[in-house]
Symmetry: C3
Subunit: 295 residues, 3 copies
């Protein structure tokens, strides 16, 4: 997201609308990537993101190849480099990379001719998630400028939080990062964010609340006493919702831990735009693929 | 199978013949599902059924997406619901669901806009298997009415047995469920089946014998002393075949445990229509996909 | 490779050039396999070879189905036979088989109507690798006749070595098999190969050096004291390269164990044609698929 200008993102949003319309039509097929090869190279499992990219590529008539790699015994950096060079020799047009190391996608752009889309690199960025989140909010709110956005949860380990922080700020929204002190590093102030350790106190000001997934699988040591304790202070439930603005939007990148960061009645309630996010996710990825291949 | 009327099934059989002809032609490709998205969502492994659906969808020009999910730590029902809602937001036209819980596919039909095909739900039903079995027998015998059909094996845990029982009865065939008492529940009498615990005694009356796979992986406790003991009384071997009608048909949903429920010489013998079943399986799934998308 | 005549291979090389040109064009798509079904049936993992065949099939507009099977509890031969017969009933045009048993692919050609491509059978052959290696050398050297080819490493367990030995000899090149005595069986002399246990002594004569991957996963007991010991005598490093011809070509079937059989500076150096091999791999598989389907 740090590479994209506001006007580039606006162009992507326009293209996304056209792709969304295609996805809601009867024949969801465009020939724009016919004869192009898209490789989904996933070093971390993500059925959801991989499926979204796979559908996006196929609806545009690309040849889509899925490669998933578990943890390897050899040094990851070396494996990634060799894997990527080998794939390049097969003449792909786009490589979609999900990798546990920050900077992995950028690294590939330096050595490959193929276009590279970052589908998540460690705790660094997840730009297509950021784009789909911005698009979802813009659609509902008309504009992003001046909005108060709260991102709640494990900020420290979240690439979604980083990509959204950067993206919302580029459009003139103000972002508050909310969570227990152990998960909201002071250093995020340098990126222009406001920090809050008290969700209940911050919620009345927010136009947009983005709840993050507690990814127990990513946490090496537990940063809070228990999930129940976490949910009590940083989960979003009906009682807390009573303090929120009447037109607040609730986002979540999924999959939701129901009863932890989000109560089921909130996840499925009228303020939730979680399924809009998923819908926009396929469309924004189609728009990106088309833009890259055309460039 | 309980939802389908006899005339609906007959229409599927007619359409299946056309699909089978396509599959035996030189260019096995129809444009009837162009621009449609078919998701194979398999919560249980089944290379065979998944491959059959995948080939069916691709030959009709659909965009086919495979998703396989292992056992998850969270409550299965919740996971299925959230997974399905998320997939729905990606605008699929058909979701093919294999799930360990009875009623899972029906449950999805209540909440999704996409068409749902049940590719096996727990011990409840496996309707595409039932349809391909009926089709296979009808093809060979001309009609189903009045036939004596024996289904042999682990009736209690078999969705194949249930779907065939329902299907054959709708066409006026008579079904005998055969196996050790521990695997043939009395309650099946209420569904109109005859029960038999003596295969040797029942075999001379049968026009069709459907041998079920002993799925040791599904059995929680052993319902019989040993596989050898089971095979001795309920396996189909050459000696038992001598008591069968000269024009009997042998079916098996596969994969066969050779030497357990079926001796190799019977599985590969002249009465076996096991490979016809596989061939009709692809065609019947194509016919269903076309019917759903047209509806 | 033992089945193919020199003129058949030359025809494949010509067709490969056309496919390579397609792969380097803007719209990498041919309709030559439209309506054909290609099944990649892999009983051993090989992301690289599977991806190469998958891309090849899709660029030719085939319907491509991937099936990967782990170790099964039942006797492998029986499983393979039943799996293959079942797949045949689904009317595939080509089955690409990777299997741990020597002769597996040949076995299938005897029972199936579909064309079968051997994508590696145990320690026996890996003919598409052989073809892409020959093609790569022919491209660079102009012709194969009279070349001195060294194949270095675990000859005993290498299907790549066998396929290349047979292939290079058919074109009049001379092949020296190089490695520790424990990995270079005397019996290869009967196939016309020269044997050497001293890489340093042999290297100055070689026009082509093919380094094999040390596949620790295939070795049941260790045939050499340590990887470091192996690398010292049979790894290719800069110091050894100084003794090589100035126009020597370095090949490796990948993935490279950097620092074991090949030093990084050699793998990435000017003599290395490793990425040409990968590029030719996709093209040679396209040429084969087209030739089989046309036949």
């Amino acid at each position: 997201m740090s590479d994209l200008s506001r006007s580039q993102m606006e162009a992507i949003f326009e293209a996304t609308k056209a792709c969304r319309a295609l996805n809601e039509s009867s024949e969801k097929k465009s020939a724009s990537l016919k004869g192009k090869t898209v490789i989904n190279l996933f070093f971390e499992n993500s059925t959801r993101t991989r499926t979204s990219f796979e559908i996006a590529g196929k609806r545009l008539s690309a040849d889509v190849i899925n490669i998933s790699k578990g943890g390897s015994s050899v040094s990851k950096g070396e494996t990634l480099l060799d894997t990527a060079k080998n794939l390049q020799a097969m003449n792909p047009d786009v490589i979609v990379l999900r990798h546990p190391s920050a900077g992995a996608a950028y690294h590939l752009t330096q050595i490959l001719e193929a276009h590279v889309i970052n589908a998540g690199d460690g705790a660094h960025e997840h730009p297509t998630q950021g784009l789909l989140d911005l698009m979802t909010v813009k659609d509902r709110k008309g504009q992003l400028e001046g909005l108060q956005v709260g991102i709640v949860g494990d900020i420290a380990h979240s690439r979604v939080a980083r990509s959204n922080l950067i993206g919302f700020q580029k459009f003139g929204a103000e972002v508050t990062l909310i969570g227990p002190k152990s998960l909201v590093p002071e250093s995020f102030k340098d990126l222009g964010a406001k920090l809050s350790y008290d969700f209940r106190k911050s919620i009345p000001q927010l136009d947009v609340i983005m709840m993050l997934r507690i990814q127990t699988e990513r946490l090496k040591t537990s940063p809070f006493p228990s999930l129940r304790e976490y949910a009590r202070f940083f989960g979003l439930n009906r009682s807390l919702m009573e303090k929120a603005k009447p037109d607040v939007l609730i986002l979540h990148p999924g999959p939701v831990n129901r009863g932890v960061e989000l109560d089921p009645e909130v996840a499925d309630g009228p303020y939730s735009v979680i399924l809009d996010q998923v819908k926009n996710g396929v469309a924004v990825r189609m728009a990106l693929l088309e833009a890259l291949v055309r460039s």
